[in-house]
């Protein structure tokens, strides 16, 4: 019996040390899926870069439904994963429920900034600043004086994108007309390219000749239809310029990959708290490469560079939609 006990103890000790040695990071993708060519794919790229550089391994799960959020968090926490990186605003509630139960585990929340827990690193991107820059480019590239915005699901985050975009467009041309549409109000709005196409056609018929899509998989339909109809589009999150070379004006980059890479690199010694990733931190930006080089004039480039510096220096303030849940430049 005593032998048995000591054996069990030894086994437990082995299990514990094994757990400590194997504290690999975990990554929870949002409903859009790992390869959405956008937000989640950026996270995947960041994690992959970390894995390639360090030879480390990480666990991952692609959520299939709302109900899995808390379950996935607890699974990874129980399995000893550290840190656990979550994607998307919808993880806020499950995180606030779970984080307190695992004080020794560090969590990372991308797109969440309002939780009150000591062991969460919360990363908010200044999407309005990046959107402001692409809004400027849209207004400069537009010949009709009308630019479009197509959002995915109607949530504050997407309005935040649209609001920055409208402000940027109006900064270049105060008379510019901004047509804004949301695809829907359910998560299906992230994966409905057919609706994205129809919205694009509707906006074109209202005069828009540059359209910014912040809509996940729906954006694939927007970019496609814009290319078919011979107008310009603007991609989002990842660099989407290559999808239709010469037809995509630029992409608003949201460097989720950098955020995920940094978190995995820091490992268990991760700093927690609320972090903002703006233009100054290179957390957001505009994509310039050989695919859109013919579309971007020197004048455009100069204006964007100047505006970026002005925003970083504080000479220009881009109003955030979150400040008072309304936008000075756009009515939703």
């Amino acid at each position: 019996m005593i032998l048995m006990k000591s054996l069990m103890g030894a086994a437990a000790a082995v299990a514990l040390t094994a757990g400590a040695a194997l504290a690999e990071p975990a990554l929870i993708f949002d409903l859009g899926g790992k390869f959405d060519k956008s937000f989640n794919e950026a996270a995947h790229n960041g994690a992959q870069r970390w894995a390639d550089e360090t030879g480390g391994t990480y666990r991952e799960i692609e959520l299939q439904s709302e109900a899995q959020r808390e379950q996935a968090l607890r699974r990874f926490a129980e399995a000893g994963a550290n840190p656990i990186i979550t994607m998307g605003f919808a993880m806020a509630d499950p995180l606030s429920a779970v984080a307190g139960d695992y004080p020794d585990t560090k969590f990372v929340a991308v797109d969440v900034t309002w939780l009150d827990a000591p062991n969460i690193r919360q990363i908010g991107f200044a999407e309005h600043e990046g959107s402001y820059l692409v809004g400027m480019m849209a207004a400069m590239a537009s010949e009709s004086g009308t630019v479009g915005f197509i959002g995915g699901m109607d949530i504050p985050l997407i309005r935040h994108f649209g609001c920055g975009y409208a402000q940027g467009a109006k900064a270049v041309n105060p008379d510019v007309e901004v047509v804004a549409n949301m695809t829907g109000t359910t998560p299906a709005a992230w994966n409905d390219p057919v609706k994205g196409s129809e919205l694009t056609k509707a906006q074109i018929s209202q005069g828009a000749d540059v359209i910014y899509a912040a809509a996940g998989g729906t954006g694939v339909g927007v970019l496609q239809t814009a290319a078919d109809e011979g107008i310009l589009s603007i991609g989002v999150d990842s660099n989407q310029n290559h999808l239709h070379p010469g037809k995509v004006l630029t992409s608003m980059l949201k460097r989720v990959d950098v955020a995920v890479y940094d978190a995995m690199k820091a490992g268990e010694n991760l700093e927690t708290g609320v972090f903002a990733m703006g233009l100054a931190e290179e957390g957001v930006g505009v994509a310039m490469d050989e695919n859109n080089a013919p579309l971007v004039s020197d004048e455009m480039k100069g204006a964007v560079d100047k505006a970026r510096q002005d925003i970083i220096d504080g000479n220009v303030t881009v109003v955030s939609y979150y400040e008072n849940d309304s936008c000075p430049a756009l009515q939703f």
């Binding site: 804004a180 949301m182 609706k195 196409s197 694939v220 939703f332």
Partner: protein
């Protein structure tokens, strides 16, 4: 005049949005008229969307893509028939299973074929259905009223749109003017009588389910290769269920099905064109327009506007008397 231009554009959008609904709705109509409930329309469309885009991307021929889409949809139909006709299983459960199967399989196969995260590469050239321009469309577009209607509304859609709308009179004729149609309807109302007359109930039901598969295949191919240029996961986005709602709304009749689908398409087109509609002080939010198809269906089902009576033998597997 500006109002008229907008109207034509909204109606044009209506036709594009109503076409997949109409094809799926007619598919459901054949199946349900024969007594086989089919809530797997969504799954069959999704499967067909993937295989049509996938094969079109690989071979570069949209027609081979269409055939592959129809074949994939037929395979799922066969599965549904096997489960619910041959083995007399529950038709609803089989339909749900097909939806899940399609949702998972499409992404899985797409990932293994193309490694683009459950998508197909973008189609171009011969890999897509291009719009068909009718003769004189360009010349006549200057004619007031009739010109834009001919040039924008009637001309300039892909061939599958015309197929879908021709299927409506064809379906009416098959169901109400042919021997096959009479027997098909009878097998949904009273299969025992059909059996007594010496006609195979199982054979008729399989035929109906097969027609359903073909139409769902065309609907899926239309989504992926005509409206879009490739497959994106879950791209049917609930259209199979709206088609079912339209079927109930139309009380299982072909011409009514067309009007129901056009109505639902119109509601979507209006919701997409105008975010919020201002009716003299009262603002109708876009969400109301999105929900309206379902609300209308519930109203019909509740019996406020006429009565929706499904085929009497619907949902019942047929067991021969011994």
């Amino acid at each position: 005049m500006e109002f008229f231009v907008t109207l034509v554009q909204v109606l044009d959008s209506t036709i594009r949005l109503a076409t997949p609904l109409l094809l799926a709705c007619l598919a459901g109509l054949y199946s349900e008229r024969a007594g086989i409930f089919d809530i797997g329309l969504e799954g069959k469309m999704l499967m067909a969307a993937f295989f049509s885009a996938g094969v079109a991307a690989v071979t570069g021929s949209v027609w081979l893509g269409l055939l592959a889409g129809i074949a994939a949809s037929l395979l799922l139909s066969g599965l549904h028939g096997l489960a619910s006709i041959t083995f007399r299983g529950n038709q609803l459960i089989s339909g749900v299973a097909i939806n899940f199967l399609a949702s998972g399989l499409t992404v899985l196969i797409a990932q293994s074929w193309f490694q683009q995260g459950g998508r197909t590469p973008s189609l171009f050239g011969e890999g897509r259905f291009e719009p068909i321009e009718f003769p004189f469309a360009e010349a006549l577009s200057g004619v007031p009223i009739l010109g834009p209607i001919y040039a924008e509304l009637i001309s300039g859609h892909s061939i599958l749109v015309y197929v879908a709308f021709l299927m409506v009179p064809a379906t009416w004729w098959i169901l109400y003017r042919t021997r096959f149609g009479l027997r098909l309807r009878a097998v949904g109302e009273n299969p025992a009588a059909v059996d007594t007359a010496g006609v195979s109930v199982v054979g008729l039901r399989f035929a109906a389910v097969a027609i359903c598969g073909i139409l769902c295949g065309i609907a899926g191919a239309y989504l992926a290769t005509a409206l879009q240029a490739g497959f994106v996961k879950e791209m049917t986005a609930g259209r199979g269920f709206i088609a079912l709602a339209a079927l109930i709304f139309a009380k299982w009749r072909p011409w009514h099905a067309m009007w129901a689908c056009l109505l639902f398409g119109l509601l979507q087109a209006i919701a997409l064109r105008f975010q919020n509609i201002d009716l003299g002080g009262v603002v109708i939010p876009v969400q109301v327009m999105d929900a309206l198809p379902y609300i209308l269906t519930v109203v019909i089902l509740a019996g406020f506007v006429g009565k929706a009576i499904p085929p009497r033998a619907g949902g019942e597997p047929y067991v021969k008397e011994r």
